[in-house]
């Protein structure tokens, strides 16, 4: 079964790049541009991995993460957090992010981190 990555990123160009990089590895990528509906999508689609931008319109990445970790059903979902602000690493780790990547990143780094996170 192909790996399913759910990508939450509001910058359309960054989302486009991520989709290209991840799809090239043969993974299935679905994308949402804002913070609302993420929880519903996670429950409905059951992705293998969530890549979450920190600054999002609607609901911030930290809030989403907190909600996911509070729900037993989604508690174990691997989450990789993206941010463009250096100081956010602590906040993200406190909220329960499994990996933290700051922008800008190298494509290889993303792929490697995803592989490490899902163990493939």
């Amino acid at each position: 079964m192909t790996l399913h990555v759910l990508l939450i990123e509001d910058e359309p160009n960054i989302a486009e790049a991520m989709r290209f990089i991840l799809s090239r590895e043969g993974w299935r990528v679905s994308h949402l541009a804002q913070g609302t509906e993420v929880l519903e999508r996670v429950r409905a689609d059951r992705p293998d991995l969530l890549i979450l931008d920190l600054m999002l319109p609607g609901m911030s990445g930290l809030e989403i993460l907190a909600a996911l970790r509070a729900d037993p059903e989604t508690r174990a979902l691997p989450v990789m957090m993206l941010t463009a602000r250096g100081r956010d690493r602590e906040l993200a780790e406190q909220a329960g992010a499994d990996r933290f990547i700051s922008k800008p990143f190298s494509n290889a780094e993303i792929v490697a981190e995803v592989r490490a996170l899902v163990g493939r």
């Binding site: 160009n13 960054i14 600054m55 319109p57 609607g58 250096g86 800008p104």
Partner: protein
């Protein structure tokens, strides 16, 4: 003289007056009135006391009753010579409490009771009706004189249709004149100046006719004195009773006539003018009466028996072949009539709109939305009221047949308005006078006047039946209109004067003694009676829960957007706050109430503020303040209050400064982190795609697409860096300004075109007033245009209305130009309004559309560099920004 020429002369004259009024109002708008606010203009404007009745009727009066006509001048002379006693107080109260009319004064004094306002308004309207009819009649008569003398035998209009045309013409003229703009303020500098011009015209005309009679027809001064001696005018002898009555009546009328109150109190700019007028106005009256008797005597000698002595001023020159002198006299009479009708109907329209229409409107639409709906209602109400007042005048003229002698009608009107006197004098000098007493007096006096003077003036069998005249009302012989309580010895006027004033005063005093004043009445009574004892009157408001924004919305309904914003801004500044929303302190509420009173009257203003402040008007403390008048306590508490106000102001300023500092420090930290974010985001895309491209193996269309993304993001980075540099240059004040003369309209055009690139898919309706944009500014046009582009783009981005609209309004005031950009979206929430001009203060991330949130911060810096400012305007029903820029920016200031 051809009738058409006469009409043309009238029209030309009216256009001339309109031009005068228009030019003066233009000067008033830019605050350069200068000599137009002199005692001379004030005194001349008072001359509307001399109406067509005086101009034509005095000669007729002299021909019929000898020197009795002088009583009409004696009364006002006495009042003005004794101005220190009464007029000074009236004017002081009028200015201090922004009184809009005599009805407003009475209503305000007696506890801001609108019922009293309505009663006085009704009395004034009913009493003014015959008076306006009188003016119509005199104009019709004077037209008639020329028509019958027309050599070409052209049949002129008959009297009835002339009257209609004159009434319609005057109504249109007054509406154009008196309600020309939406400014609800009660002072009309333009009109006052036009009235002053008319005063000169009528004086010159009457003096010219008099000089012609004395030196042209008679053989000089000694000859005319001989002729007067020889003439057998009726009643040369003085009748003490009637004379006293008439002097009293005219003295009262000069105080209580709505139009006199309007020019004397409402339009007064400076109390000092009154001192000058105290001798100058009697002098004017003396000049007006100088040649009355010679004209009357020569007229009786020269004119055929049976000709109307009221028209001697016209018929004498005509009969002597002096066409142009007659024309001058005609214009003099026309001036007298028009000036009276204009001011009278404006005064009455103000009363009707403030005391009848607005209270009703507010009852039906208590909470209409933002905007200036109320001012539109006020304006419309005044226009309709003007037309209605003139229609009533015409109706009276039509019904009474225009037959009675001019003087008789005038005196009936005088007596009608005189009924306000007891309540007025009592209100100014007697603290014990109460609302109930005032009502009793007014209603009683009005009823007696109507029964004994007004209704009988239509003639027996018209308003009152023949039987009532003979046997009395309900057959009670002591209720005969001309012989109340069996007093048959007096002439009808003295009789009506005696009984109406006596019963009025008695009812007023009795009513006042038997009732207790309410709390607001006590406060107002003390404030009015002791108006010279200093102090701005008692404060009536406790610190309420009123929302400043709601107060602003209400104030805008009445004062209009601009005046309201200015008022609120300066109040906020006095409290040491920035922006347009002051704290609703008692002092501010008082100021606001006073301003609103100036537009809609005290009763309505009080009611509107009470509605928002949500408090039953007066508290125990207020009553205590009235009860304990010990000077010490007052002074002590005044000192305490002043100190407390000072402390509050300082505390407010400190609090605001502290909040600002705290936020600034937080923002400083946030700034770096924001810059990091804004720089990293485009860089992420660039790095990711450039890696993808270097790895190769991509189809050409993908290469092109990704190349374009890299290019766009690189541009975005550049723009961000440009903005940051721009901001830093502007903040350091090291910016190079390129000052030149530039056309505002072109700048706005450029900005609109440029801003169209922002969300081009949205169609926006733009409202502009192009003529108002025809202003040449000395400024840096590119920088100012940059600000406009930013504001328009923001509207395009963030206005969330379904059919977005943007209104651009330009105003010029005192060397500064204000450009407002107002959209119809949901606006900016109050808590964010103070933040939007800070760097990276983009309110939501929903519509970033490529911006980094620096736009408004740059705008603010640009405007500071241009010597102007940019501010958010609350309460406009959408997001609204005001850009203020000096008309001419000088290099040294930059």
């Amino acid at each position: 003289m051809p009738f058409n020429l006469l009409v043309a002369a009238c029209l030309l004259y009216v256009i001339f007056l309109f031009t005068v009024a228009f030019l003066v109002e233009r000067r008033a708008l830019i605050g350069r009135l200068g000599w137009l606010r002199s005692p001379l203009v004030y005194t001349l404007s008072l001359s509307i006391y001399c109406t067509a009745w005086t101009f034509y009727g005095a000669v007729g009066y002299a021909a019929r009753s000898g020197l009795e006509f002088l009583t009409i001048y004696f009364g006002p002379t006495l009042v003005f010579v004794g101005w220190w006693w009464l007029l000074r107080k009236l004017v002081r109260i009028g200015r201090q409490y922004r009184v809009t009319s005599i009805a407003d004064l009475i209503s305000s004094r007696f506890g801001k009771s609108n019922t009293l306002g309505v009663i006085v308004t009704l009395i004034a309207v009913v009493a003014a009706t015959p008076y306006i009819a009188l003016q119509l009649q005199s104009v019709v008569l004077s037209f008639g004189v020329f028509a019958s003398a027309a050599p070409d035998g052209q049949a002129p209009l008959d009297a009835g249709s002339t009257a209609i045309w004159v009434a319609v013409g005057l109504a249109l003229f007054t509406i154009l004149f008196g309600t020309r703009n939406l400014d609800a303020k009660e002072q009309h500098h333009g009109i006052v100046t036009a009235i002053a011009v008319e005063a000169v015209v009528k004086l010159v005309a009457l003096l010219a006719v008099g000089a012609f009679v004395v030196w042209g027809i008679a053989g000089g001064v000694s000859d005319i004195i001989a002729r007067i001696d020889a003439a057998h005018l009726n009643a040369w002898q003085v009748q003490p009773g009637r004379w006293t009555g008439l002097i009293f009546l005219s003295a009262v009328a000069v105080i209580t006539l709505p139009r006199m109150f309007q020019v004397m109190v409402v339009e007064n700019d400076d109390e000092g003018h009154l001192a000058r007028a105290s001798w100058a106005f009697p002098l004017y009256l003396m000049l007006m009466s100088l040649f009355i008797v010679p004209i009357a005597v020569v007229g009786l000698e020269r004119m055929p028996a049976g000709s109307n002595p009221d028209m001697f001023v016209l018929t004498l020159p005509l009969a002597e072949g002096q066409g142009s002198l007659a024309m001058l006299a005609f214009l003099g009479g026309f001036s007298s009539a028009t000036s009276m009708v204009i001011v009278e109907s404006i005064a009455l329209a103000t009363m009707i709109s403030n005391h009848i229409v607005i209270p009703l409107w507010l009852r039906w639409h208590p909470t209409a939305g933002a905007g200036d709906d109320l001012r539109v209602v006020v304006l419309r109400a005044r226009r309709i009221a003007i037309a209605a007042v003139l229609a009533l005048g015409y109706g009276y003229y039509h019904v009474s047949g225009g037959s009675a002698a001019l003087a008789a009608i005038g005196l009936i009107a005088f007596l009608g308005v005189a009924q306000v006197l007891p309540a007025l004098i009592g209100g100014l000098f007697w603290r014990g006078a109460t609302r109930v007493g005032a009502m009793c007096g007014l209603v009683t006096g009005f009823a007696v006047w109507a029964f004994a003077s007004f209704l009988p003036s239509f003639g027996p069998g018209a308003a009152l039946s023949e039987a009532v005249f003979q046997q009395g009302l309900f057959g009670l012989s002591w209720l005969r209109p001309h012989a109340l309580f069996g007093t048959e010895a007096m002439d009808p006027l003295t009789h009506a004067l005696f009984w109406s004033m006596t019963l009025n005063t008695a009812a007023f005093c009795l009513g006042s003694l038997l009732t207790f004043p309410g709390p607001v009445e006590r406060l107002q009574g003390a404030a009015f009676v002791n108006v010279f004892d200093g102090g701005a009157g008692p404060q009536r408001w406790a610190r309420g829960q009123a929302e400043p924004e709601a107060l602003l919305t209400m104030a805008q309904r009445i004062l209009g957007e601009e005046a309201a914003l200015t008022l609120f801004q300066s109040a906020a500044r006095d409290q040491g706050k920035e922006g347009f929303l002051p704290d609703p302190t008692p002092a501010f509420l008082d100021t606001l109430e006073a301003r609103l009173s100036g537009s809609v009257g005290a009763a309505t203003a009080h009611a509107m503020i009470s509605q928002l402040v949500g408090r039953a008007m007066v508290t125990v403390e207020d009553l205590m303040a009235v009860a304990s008048e010990s000077a010490q306590i007052m002074e002590y508490s005044a000192q305490l209050e002043a100190r407390e106000a000072e402390l509050t102001r300082t505390a407010g300023a400190l609090r605001e400064a502290n909040e600002k500092l705290t936020q600034l420090s937080i923002q400083k930290d946030a700034f770096l982190s924001q810059i990091s974010h804004e720089l990293r985001t485009p860089m992420t895309s660039i790095r990711a795609f450039s890696e993808i491209l270097t790895e190769g193996d991509l189809p050409p269309d993908m290469v092109a697409k990704y190349g374009k993304i890299i290019h766009d993001e690189a541009k975005r980075l550049t723009r961000l860096l440009d903005d940051l540099l721009d901001l830093s240059v502007l903040e350091n004040g090291t910016v190079q300004l390129n000052l030149e003369m530039a056309n505002l309209q072109q700048m706005i055009d450029t900005a609109l075109t440029a801003a169209r690139q922002t969300r081009p898919e949205r169609s926006f309706v733009i409202h502009r007033d192009l003529p108002s944009e025809q202003i040449y500014l000395k400024t840096d046009a590119d920088r100012l245009t940059q600000v406009f582009i930013n504001l328009i783009s923001n509207a395009r981005k963030y206005c969330d209305a379904e059919n977005p609209e943007l209104r651009i309004a330009v105003r010029q005031r005192a060397g500064r130009v204000m450009i407002d950009f107002i959209d119809n979206g949901s606006g900016i929430p109050k808590e964010s309004q103070a933040l939007i001009f800070e760097k990276f203060a983009r309110l939501t991330d929903a519509n970033r559309a490529g911006g980094a949130g620096l736009g408004l911060a740059i705008c603010r810096e640009v405007m500071t560099n241009l010597g102007g400012s940019i501010a958010y305007l609350p309460g406009q029903g959408g997001a609204a920004f005001r850009v203020t820029v000096p008309l001419r920016l000088e290099k040294a200031a930059a």
